[in-house]
């Protein structure tokens, strides 16, 4: 990596491509209005104040989409009594992006209690988003009581099994995975044999140069197993993607942004549009974290993703709601 700056990977103590100091710094800044970009395998951060001065070409690409996550429609406790309001603010943020996203990915926990009126409310609010195409994967809160039947009825057209599917946009191959079904006691997220077989088959004939985007609710890397923040069989899924030059994994579930680069794979988790959760190990449990009301929007957010042909990795940019 030529031309190192303060923000690039510097301290690779564990030799796993992760500069913890770098992205911890980045995460701290994210709360006060900065965002981090991974481009060409390099983590860069920009303060919001610098944005107007940035070359739009740096931010734009051939394909632009946005990720929102964990709207938890129906949640109404102290951490956020108005999740509809903050989801609307997220839609405003999406609509205000310099380069309009072509579509949205929602990485799950759309609803809080799998109630029809909760799904209805989210779909209604998203009607105000400029990108009208929304691709959903379920969170564990979306498949309560009915093994995800309601989710599949609403959002699963063309999907297989518990609701997994793939599609292509401008030469980028997207895979929506479901890792919140059949969870075992004491376990983590789980993809399951049938889905893994489908995945292997789905990417088998793709050229190695095809950029891949995988999106699923629970992180596909081991963020913090003690809190269930990981997927038991994700290593097998990733092994089928080894041959590709650029793989971007977008997840939700943990209600905070985290990034990790591991070889050809960039992992990224999104903030929630509803409420934040504590950093790994920083609280007794991973429940909703209360922050002063005036700070709430600074710990919620959306993710903007841009693909520029020729660049190794997709540009992934988080912005907070305020």
């Amino acid at each position: 990596m030529a031309g190192r700056t303060k923000d690039e990977l510097l301290h690779d103590h564990n030799h796993d491509g992760v500069d913890r100091r770098g992205f911890l710094k980045c995460m701290a800044w994210a709360g006060t209005g900065a965002f981090c970009v991974i481009r060409g395998g390099v983590l860069r951060s920009y303060a919001f104040s610098r944005l107007p001065a940035l070359d739009p070409k740096e931010m734009a690409g051939e394909l632009s989409f946005a990720q929102i996550s964990d709207s938890h429609m129906g949640f109404n406790k102290a951490a956020n009594p108005d999740v509809a309001g903050t989801l609307k603010a997220a839609v405003d943020k999406v609509n205000g992006l310099a380069v309009a996203p072509e579509f949205l990915l929602h990485t799950g926990d759309i609803s809080h209690l799998s109630k029809p009126e909760e799904f209805d409310a989210v779909q209604q609010i998203l009607k105000a988003a400029k990108p009208q195409d929304v691709f959903y994967v379920p969170g564990e809160h979306d498949v309560l009581n009915d093994d995800g039947q309601q989710f599949r009825d609403r959002f699963g057209k063309g999907s297989k099994g518990a609701g997994w599917y793939s599609f292509d946009k401008k030469g980028v191959h997207f895979l929506g995975l479901v890792n919140v079904m059949n969870l075992k006691a004491g376990g983590l997220g789980s993809l399951g044999h049938e889905q893994l077989e489908w995945l292997e088959d789905d990417v088998k004939h793709l050229k190695h140069s095809t950029p891949i985007v995988v999106f699923a609710h629970i992180p596909l890397w081991s963020v913090y197993p003690e809190w269930g923040w990981g997927t038991e069989d994700s290593a097998q899924a990733l092994s089928y993607l080894k041959k590709f030059g650029s793989v971007t994994v977008l997840n939700g579930h943990i209600h905070q942004t985290m990034q990790k680069v591991e070889g050809n794979v960039t992992f990224h988790t999104a903030a929630s549009t509803a409420f934040p959760q504590p950093a790994p190990g920083k609280a007794d449990s991973p429940g909703p974290m209360k922050v002063p009301a005036e700070q709430l929007k600074s710990v919620l957010g959306i993710t903007d993703v841009n693909f520029v042909r020729g660049k190794q990795a997709l540009g992934v940019v988080d912005s907070t709601l305020e």
């Binding site: 009581n145 006691a185 376990g187 449990s285």
Partner: protein
């Protein structure tokens, strides 16, 4: 002769009476032992995580957390399965057979607990 027969009958009756009394006491004792027990769900955990109760006891789980949870037996077939419990909602199950009943929250599978029924 009559006296010893009477004595024998008396003793027999006494023994029967004591036995009957004893049986009645055991029945009363068993009813007293069966109890209502509670498990509190809070901070993504079941408290107590291991609960021992006598056969016939009813256990009530109450969700004090600000996130929904479930109580689902890990046995196959499931011994019990609650609906989704939002904050302050409860689920009760009466354990009529002895055994160890492991369970977990199906939404947050790292949350586990057990009820030991003796």
């Amino acid at each position: 002769m009559r006296r010893s027969v009477s004595a024998a009958i008396f003793i027999a009756l006494a023994v029967l009476g004591v036995a009957a009394l004893g049986a009645k006491n055991s029945a009363v004792a068993a009813q007293q032992k069966a109890q209502n027990a509670e498990v509190k769900i809070d901070n993504f955990s079941f408290g107590p995580a291991a609960l021992t109760v006598p056969v016939g006891s009813a256990v009530t789980w109450t969700n004090h957390d600000d996130i929904p949870h479930t109580v689902v037996s890990t046995d196959d077939p499931k011994a019990f399965k609650s609906k989704v419990l939002d904050t302050d909602e409860k689920f009760s199950f009466t354990f009529t057979k002895a055994g160890t009943y492991a369970y977990f929250c199906s939404i947050h599978p790292k949350m586990t607990g057990k009820v030991i029924v003796q």
